[in-house]
């Protein structure tokens, strides 16, 4: 063995030990443990709901709900401080849940009525939600800085109680989103056909809206209101580049969701950057790489319908 090789072997060994220690340190940190549980759950559930939203071409619904949830946060805060609760944000998350549910159902009902443009309703909720949140938090004696934790996420402040709520809601979302997959697929794919089959279209659409609202409130702690929707939509956008089936799109998106959430979180363990922003930037980077790779790999040159019989007779028969 040459001295050189010995040195590099030792260096590799030292590097390995360092990585092992770092991982062990990361996993033994209680704060990180809670954050990881939250990240895995959010990464898992957000794409389930997102798949239905993308299928219904309602990619921005999550944003609308998120903005409304912000008003709920402020309202919860206002009620909490009026009631003298400690800490004052005890009711912030419950407030967000209630507001998000109401907002989601409102969007669903209004867009079903069709009287008003669904797009405009969504816009009204966006602005109303943000303005209401800022206004109410001021009345509650806070500042808009108080809202920042909810706007951009604060995974490091996740408590054991938060984790319990997150797990409970996550299980509920998965139960609805996966248990009712066939029915939700049918309704999201073609609502008119579903109605012509006697399916309870409105109830199923509201079920999607409700799980979307719950997802927003669960994911709010991890990535923040402003980026919640990205976790629902971007993994689905990545998955559908490489898949052909609905089922596979959903499962691939779930895997991607967990992957980007955990990766982003782990990076923030060593680098002082925003977890939510890191997660979303990673997701979008993955999208760019996959889209580019897919574009390079198969340039469609072949006839997409080789088995199609010819419709037009090119030879004019002599008469």
């Amino acid at each position: 063995m040459t001295p050189d090789a010995g040195t590099s072997a030792t260096a590799a060994g030292t590097a390995w030990t360092a990585v092992r220690d770092a991982v062990a340190g990361l996993l033994s940190d209680p704060l990180m443990q809670r954050a990881l549980v939250a990240a895995v759950l959010v990464g898992l559930v957000a794409p389930v709901v997102g798949t239905y939203l993308v299928q219904r071409r309602l990619s921005l619904l999550g944003d609308g709900i998120g903005h409304v949830a912000l008003t709920g946060v402020a309202l919860g805060w206002l009620v909490g401080s009026a009631a003298g609760l400690v800490p004052r944000d005890t009711l912030a998350i419950p407030g967000a849940v209630v507001a998000a549910l109401l907002g989601a159902i409102l969007i669903e009902v209004v867009s079903e009525r069709g009287g008003t443009n669904g797009d405009v309703v969504l816009a009204l909720l966006f602005y109303g939600g943000i303005a209401g949140g800022v206004l109410l938090i001021g009345l509650a004696g806070g500042s808009s800085a108080t809202l920042t934790a909810y706007l951009f996420g604060s995974i490091s402040t996740v408590s054991t109680g938060d984790i319990a709520l997150t797990v409970a809601l996550g299980v509920l979302i998965l139960a609805v989103g996966i248990g009712l997959r066939a029915a939700l697929f049918t309704v999201s794919q073609d609502a008119e056909f579903a109605r012509a089959s006697g399916l309870p279209v409105r109830a199923l659409n509201i079920a999607v809206a409700v799980v979307a609202a719950l997802t927003v409130t669960v994911a709010m702690r991890v990535v923040g209101v402003l980026l919640v929707s990205a976790l629902m939509i971007v993994p689905v956008a990545i998955a559908q580049i490489v898949t052909t089936s609905f089922r596979r799109t959903m499962s691939t998106a779930m895997a991607i969701g967990v992957g980007v959430c955990v990766t982003g979180l782990v990076i923030t363990y060593w680098h002082n950057v925003s977890p939510g922003a890191t997660i979303v930037v990673i997701a979008i980077a993955v999208y760019a790489v996959v889209a580019l790779a897919a574009g390079l790999r198969r340039r469609p040159e072949g006839d997409p319908h080789p088995d199609q019989a010819d419709d037009v007779d090119l030879v004019t028969e002599a008469t």
């Binding site: 794919q189 012509a196 006697g198 399916l199 052909t244 089936s245």
Partner: protein, 263 residues
Amino acid sequence: MPDVIRAADVRVRLGQSLVVRGVDLTLSDGEAVAVMGANGSGKSTLVRALVGILPIESGTVDIFGARLVPSGRGLPWHRTGYVPQRVSAAGGVPATALEVVTSGLLYRGRLRPPRNAHALALDALDEVGLAGRAGSSVRALSGGQQQRVLIARALVRRPDLLLLDEPVAGVDRPSQVAFARTLAALVERRVTVLIVLHELGTFAPLIGRTVVLRHGVVVHDGPPLPPARGHDAPDHVHLHPYVDVPGGRDVRALTEPNLGSQQ
């Protein structure tokens, strides 16, 4: 045995306008009826009301003897198949032909597909000649193939009543012929068929009765009519696919003013 469809004095409003204005329509068991009429005559609206997509303003609809109500309660949905007028079967997320057809196995009271859903869906795709494309994303299929997927979605639950809204609009001739053959087999099995068409075309041999709507009112209910004047001239520019359908009716039989009232 009750009539398969009995619609009495049905009125349907779309926005401000009354599109269907008092239509009576009865289909007996095993009948194949074509609903025809110009664009805007209310034929699609009528069919969409019959399957419960559009609310009926007044009048009554009974399907297999059960009253159609807005909640959809009490109707034998599993006995009814509907093919919408549609160009694309693709949603925002990729879905395979098999997945889209499987969605036809769900109806009121059944929110999850049955155990043998896969085999049933493959059978239905086979019936429309697409068994080989079961795993293909519907996005990758041509318009005609997508339309056949939607037909398979209606057939998969083995309906006793099939309502089709211009099922071959934009479908090429070989596909039309193939579909007419599928439909003929269904009619032979005494499936009741209500089909909205612009022209009888390939389906002429199957259709026993034609209902013509004009401005939301039935103006003809009886034997199939010859093509409107100007559409029957030898130099008429439409490609009438039935001219050389193997086993189809001779075009001359349709141009002779023999059936029903000339319009």
